[in-house]
Amino acid sequence: MKNENILMRGDPKKFIKMELSTLLAKMYYPTVLSNLFLNYGLEKATEYLNSIGDRAAKYFLQYYQPKADTPFKMVKEMSKFVGKSYEIKRNPKDRTYVVRTKKCPLCHDMPELNLPGLKNCQPISGFINGFFKYVVPLKNPKLINYKAYQGTITKSVASGDKYCELVIKNMEEL
């Protein structure tokens, strides 16, 4: 099939409206984690996982333009795509957003892996960083520089924490 008939293969914009069980992730994702950790070590594996999240954000934003116009609303809007159990708090004091969940799709009910220091949900932080980086050309708001936001996974269920936590900091204003 030629590339001009590409939509005959399937329309990504329609797939954005569909949901999929996380069961598939539970089948293949642990292997990705152990493969990267055992072959390349903690530091490099973390780098690869961030890069995976960053690129996924780029792919996603090719077909989805967020409706929200503030970083807080954008984080809320995007978290709905990942799952329905996210709790998002704005901390005006240190200008951070804290995203928490007990049902992270990359941690919840995943088989236990003995990969010290590696966080299952590391690609989520890569995704958030990529999201703010790639959303700029799509939707550059007048007042806020989205580029300046950085997400860090601070807690992860798979690493023994009670919940997964992503802290998003406005790096420029800190």
Partner: protein, 213 residues
């Protein structure tokens, strides 16, 4: 004890069960999940110096073990009114087509019908390989939709769906072993948009174990 063949009552329960399972399961946006999988493939491609075939192979490695463990858990775990998946298993090979249809529905809900055609059982005497097969048409491919940067020769001996065929193969193999059918299961992407076909297609082959020693 595993049934010899699924009767109409079990078939009706399975039809309800697939909907209940999808309602209860944790879900993620389908395109986001696909974007992550494609990104993992791309990362492995970079690691393997541009070799896509090796990247697909690396992603699929070990995925079968994961699938087998999860299926083993699902067989015993009560999903509906105390019943586990084992209640809906049988030794009758043509029932596999229906079980695959239920599985696709359980994973993607009613959208599974927009993506996949109805799985068809083909008896050995009518099949291309001379062994029983289940053919699953793919109407829209979540993996290769919008992929314009992959040439057929980049794929080497693997399918772009390789990780999915590995998962399916391991899951169905586990079930066939559980019901004590002596088949070696093989799943391949027999038609692929990326290879120039006008639709996608997965085929599950059931080779008698005695003949494949």
């Amino acid at each position: 004890m595993v049934a010899k063949k699924l009767g109409w009552i079990k078939k009706a329960i399975g039809d309800v069960g697939k909907k209940l399972f999808f309602r209860q399961t944790d879900k993620i946006n389908m395109f986001l999940m696909i974007a992550i999988v494609q990104s993992v493939i791309e990362e492995y491609r970079i690691i393997h110096e541009g070799n896509l075939s090796r990247a697909l192979e690396t992603l699929a490695q070990g995925a079968g073990t994961g699938a087998s463990e999860i299926v083993a858990d699902l067989i015993e775990k009560p999903v509906m009114a105390g019943m586990g998946m084992k209640f809906l298993l049988s030794k009758h090979l043509p029932d596999v087509a229906l079980q695959i249809e239920w599985t696709l529905w359980s994973l993607a809900g009613k959208n599974a019908e927009k993506i996949f055609g109805k799985p068809m059982f083909i008896p050995a005497e009518n099949s291309t390989e001379g062994v029983p097969e289940v053919v699953i048409p793919i109407k829209q491919c979540v993996m290769c939709a919008a992929k314009t940067d992959i040439k057929p020769e980049d794929l080497g001996n693997h399918d772009y769906f390789h990780v999915i065929t590995e998962l399916a193969e391991a899951a169905i193999q586990h079930i066939q072993d559980y019901v004590e059918n002596r088949y070696r299961v093989l799943c391949r992407e027999t038609k692929c948009f990326l290879r120039g076909d006008d639709q996608g297609e997965l085929t599950v082959f059931f080779y008698p174990k005695d003949k494949t020693r």
